[in-house]
């Protein structure tokens, strides 16, 4: 196990280094002028040049890269050109909302995925219809799901809010986690909790849908295969109830591929955050990133990309370790 963790850590470090290089190259080749964007249209050429000097954009590319690597290695992500705050501070402001949304979506995806997989594994006509629905559902783009969800649940039925993280007139608890559901519970504030939960439903569902369908299909296939194994037949012959066999023997042994798929889908979920947060006005990293891109705010873009990339890599690392813990055969790979 230690060897596996060591190998994965080295791979994790290499991936992060690659990501840092890609982000730098991208900002170097984009024909933008952040210095002019900052000082404005009326600034003199001297003022633009002075700002470019201050930001270090006048230096040769290799020197800029060396500075960038040095700063990033020490956790200095510079100041945002737009908000003027340290990027690390901005990330700390926006990350909790994204974390809450991603966690809710991940939990929802897991439950939906397992539920759908069990329904598929049950077989019959219903399962065939469900399979068609899953294929169709997986091909619907996230933004369309979001818009449909808003149209139905906000506009037509009027039962769920369309935007934001909580009702605008509520005073938010100053909690330790910055996750509204947890902080409002700790503060015993049912108003904020209910509102936060209501605001979470549509964006979390939109984000969870595609991962849930992918997990469901993978788990169902794996489950069908497991349910044909000898030990399952033995369990049946012993008179165990089918539900008990599925839950105690089938799901556990079929979980490996679904876990891998879950890890991969988490990456897609992080990518989906940018669109979903934009549509639902969710004040998280996706919103911060899209606003930063529109401003060519390279420090902010770099910081957010590195944070999201790191999260993705770390989650996949944890999935690898979890799989190895569940299945000893993997530890030797």
């Amino acid at each position: 196990m230690a060897t596996l963790i060591g190998r994965r850590l080295v791979a994790l470090f290499a991936v992060l280094c690659g990501l840092a290089v890609i982000v730098f190259v991208l900002q170097a080749i984009i024909p933008s002028d952040p210095a002019r964007a900052m000082v404005g249209a009326s600034a003199s050429p001297e003022a633009v040049a002075a700002k470019a000097r201050e930001l270090g954009y006048d230096k040769p590319l290799p020197q800029r890269f060396a500075d960038y690597v040095g700063r990033t290695a020490t956790g200095d992500l510079q100041s945002s050109l737009r908000t003027r705050n340290e990027v690390t501070d901005d990330l700390a402001t926006f990350a909790p909302a994204s974390l809450e949304l991603a966690l809710a979506a991940a939990v929802l995806a897991a439950f939906m995925g397992i539920g759908l997989a069990l329904a598929l594994a049950a077989g019959g006509r219903a399962a065939r219809v469900l399979r068609v629905v899953l294929v169709a559902g997986a091909s619907v783009p996230g933004f369309l799901v979001a818009l449909l969800a808003i149209l139905v649940f906000y506009s037509l039925l009027g039962v769920l809010p369309a935007s934001g993280r909580v009702t605008d007139t509520l005073v938010l608890p100053e909690g330790p986690t910055q996750l509204l559901l947890i902080d409002s519970l700790l503060a015993l504030d049912p108003g904020v909790f209910g509102s936060a939960l209501a605001h979470l439903v549509l964006p979390a569902f939109t984000l969870a849908l595609v991962p849930a369908l992918a997990i469901a299909r993978t788990l169902a296939t794996s489950l069908e295969s497991v349910m044909r194994e000898d030990y399952v037949r033995t369990a049946r012959s012993k008179g165990l109830r089918e539900r008990s066999i599925i839950v105690r023997h089938g799901l556990r042994n079929a979980a490996g591929p679904a876990l891998t798929m879950g890890g991969l889908q988490f990456g897609l979920l992080l990518a989906g955050i940018v669109v979903v947060e934009q549509i639902f006005s969710w004040p998280g990293l996706g919103l911060y990133l899209s606003q930063s891109i529109a401003f060519s705010d390279f420090p902010a873009i770099t910081g957010t990309t590195l944070l999201l990339g790191t999260t993705y890599v770390v989650v996949n690392f944890l999935v690898d370790v979890a799989q190895a813990a569940a299945d000893p055969r993997i530890r030797t790979i």
């Binding site: 984009i30 024909p31 933008s32 002028d33 952040p34 002019r36 964007a37 900052m38 000082v39 404005g40 249209a41 009326s42 600034a43 003199s44 050429p45 003022a47 737009r82 908000t83 003027r84 705050n85 901005d90 402001t93 926006f94 909302a97 818009l147 808003i150 649940f153 906000y154 506009s155 009027g158 039962v159 769920l160 809010p161 369309a162 935007s163 934001g164 993280r165 009702t167 605008d168 007139t169 209910g194 509102s195 939960l197 209501a198 605001h199 439903v201 934009q278 549509i279 639902f280 006005s281 004040p283 998280g284 919103l287 911060y288 899209s290 606003q291 891109i293 529109a294 401003f295 060519s296």
Partner: protein, 515 residues
């Protein structure tokens, strides 16, 4: 039994969520005390000496005041914190008489010393809007209510600078002294404020919302709404649905023109004149538009009537002259006339037929629509046009890489103030910030430099002369005057705007019918 308990728990949870959702909606419906307006994006910072964008203008202008301002709906400069002002015959000395009894949000009184401190801070901070005070030679405060500014040389747009939406705003001692820190209060003013305006900034939650609370000690007419919530809602579709459902009171920017006709009766559309102008920039540094004859042909392909009618659906008019009409009188009609034969002949002459037409991203989609209409016309003239959406900061980089830049660029711009210099200097001048393809004409630069200190009549002639040179060069085409379009709840009254303050309404004058 267990199954029933689980089902009951799930039902209860669903009812809780749905209940909270619907309670949210009811509680957020129109209230006489709260005004809800969306922004498409966060503003950069609520600091008037740093802020130099458009999204965020209303937060600045409802919180801070300058010495002068524009009268509602016009380009006439009137007093704001200054009751009156005089200009010396040599146009070097400006004497402002301040309104007595004005207090900052912190409670401190407004005096000439606080005005001087605020002006000095703008220079010390040295960010984008500081250029408006660069001509200042000295400042003095003969008494508590008199503030005198001496300039290094006459600067015609100086009063316009004072009235500009990005002009010097008088920031109070809470920021400039008490919380100045080592950065002239910049850290403090990233989330807080201390102005004299009708609203105070009481919460700045980036990514979520900003809260403006009525200043009950305001020295002039007090605002009607107790609270203004500026909600960050980046998707215009979501904004529209929330407006229709009554969860927003108005949309003041980027409402799609094509959807204005299909609004429900509960909403009203108000169109106001603005100094916004749609421009088509031409890259004259490479083929095919380096050839004046091809540019002449390009001029014959542009059907301005079609653009403003079809793309803007009544929210823009055909441009007259090179400047927004309201800021310079006596401008000539533009010589743009569609001539298919001329256009095709020019297309034949073009060294390359493949061109790129870029347009800056906008939520309303109107610039993309204009781009598509132009694309069709250019195709008729024999060009193969690729449309490309770009971000505004990208366009600033074009002038450094003209050969790699697009051939044409569509963009909507506005001058900093209602004065021809504030338009020509950024769009026509060879080093202007909005002169994206580096149009350069020494005659234009000289005319603008001469106009800066010339007597008004002479200056206006020089501005017209510079404009005519740009028109004749076919390097920039002046397509449309874009209006401010406000889509509001029907019961909202008292809408006031200023052409020089784009996409901005005065929250203080708004009220609900009957409130």
């Amino acid at each position: 039994m267990t199954r029933h308990l689980i089902a009951a728990a799930v039902l209860a949870a669903a009812l809780t969520i749905v209940g909270c959702g619907s309670t949210d909606k009811k509680s957020s419906k129109a209230s006489s005390d709260v005004l809800r307006i969306p922004y498409l994006a966060d503003m950069s910072v609520p600091d008037p000496d740093v802020f130099y964008d458009i999204e965020g203008n209303s937060v600045i202008l409802n919180q801070y005041e300058g010495l002068l301002k524009y009268a509602p709906g016009s380009s006439e400069i009137v007093g704001s914190l200054a009751d009156s002002w005089t200009v010396s015959p040599d146009r070097l000395t400006y004497t402002f008489k301040l309104h007595p009894g004005v207090k900052f949000h912190s409670g401190a009184p407004l005096t000439s010393k606080s005005v001087k401190a605020a002006f000095q801070r703008r220079l010390d901070v040295g960010q984008a809007p500081a250029y408006m005070l660069e001509p200042v030679k000295s400042m003095s405060t003969p008494d508590d209510l008199t503030f005198v500014v001496k300039l290094k040389s006459p600067v015609n747009p100086f009063e316009a600078y004072m009235a500009s939406s990005w002009g010097p705003k008088i920031i109070g001692p809470e920021a400039i002294e008490t919380n100045a820190g080592k950065d002239f209060g910049q850290t403090y003013l990233r989330t807080k404020g201390d102005g004299t305006g009708p609203y105070k900034l009481t919460a700045f939650q980036r990514g979520r919302q900003y809260t403006l609370t009525r200043n009950d000690e305001y020295w002039s007419t007090k605002a009607n709404f107790k609270t203004v919530l500026i909600k960050i809602t980046p998707d215009i579709g979501t904004q529209r649905l929330e407006l229709q459902n009554g969860d927003l009171d108005g949309i003041v920017k980027s409402f799609p023109a094509s959807e204005l006709e299909s609004l429900p009766d509960s909403l009203t559309v108000i169109k106001k004149d603005a100094n916004l102008r749609l421009l088509l920039y031409v890259n004259t540094s490479k083929a095919p538009f380096h050839d004046p004859a091809v540019r002449e042909g390009l001029r014959s392909t542009i059907d301005v009537d079609q653009l403003v009618t079809q793309a803007y659906a009544g929210t823009a008019t055909k441009s007259v002259g090179a400047y927004p009409e309201a800021i310079l009188e006596g401008q000539p009609e533009l010589p743009y006339a569609v001539d298919a034969a001329k256009a095709m002949a020019a297309g034949d002459k073009a060294k390359t037929k493949k061109i790129t037409l870029a347009y800056t991203a906008d939520e309303s989609g109107v610039q993309r629509r204009v781009g598509e209409l132009l694309q069709a016309k250019l195709k008729e003239a024999g060009f193969d046009v690729t449309l490309r959406e770009v971000q505004l900061p990208d366009t600033y980089g074009y002038v450094k890489r003209l050969k790699q830049a697009p051939d044409l660029l569509l963009q909507t711009n506005t001058p900093d103030a209602a004065h021809p210099d504030t338009w020509a200097r950024i769009v026509f001048y060879s080093t202007g910030g909005l002169n994206f393809f580096g149009f350069a004409d020494k005659g234009v630069d000289k005319a603008l430099d001469d106009a800066l200190a010339a007597p008004e009549d002479e200056a206006n002639k020089l501005y017209l002369e510079a404009g005519q040179k740009v028109i004749d060069s076919n390097s920039i085409f002046f397509l449309g005057n874009v209006k401010d379009v406000f889509v509001l709840q029907k019961d909202l009254q008292g809408v006031q705007s200023v052409p020089a303050y784009p996409w901005t309404i005065d929250y203080a004058t708004l009220k609900r019918g009957g409130s």
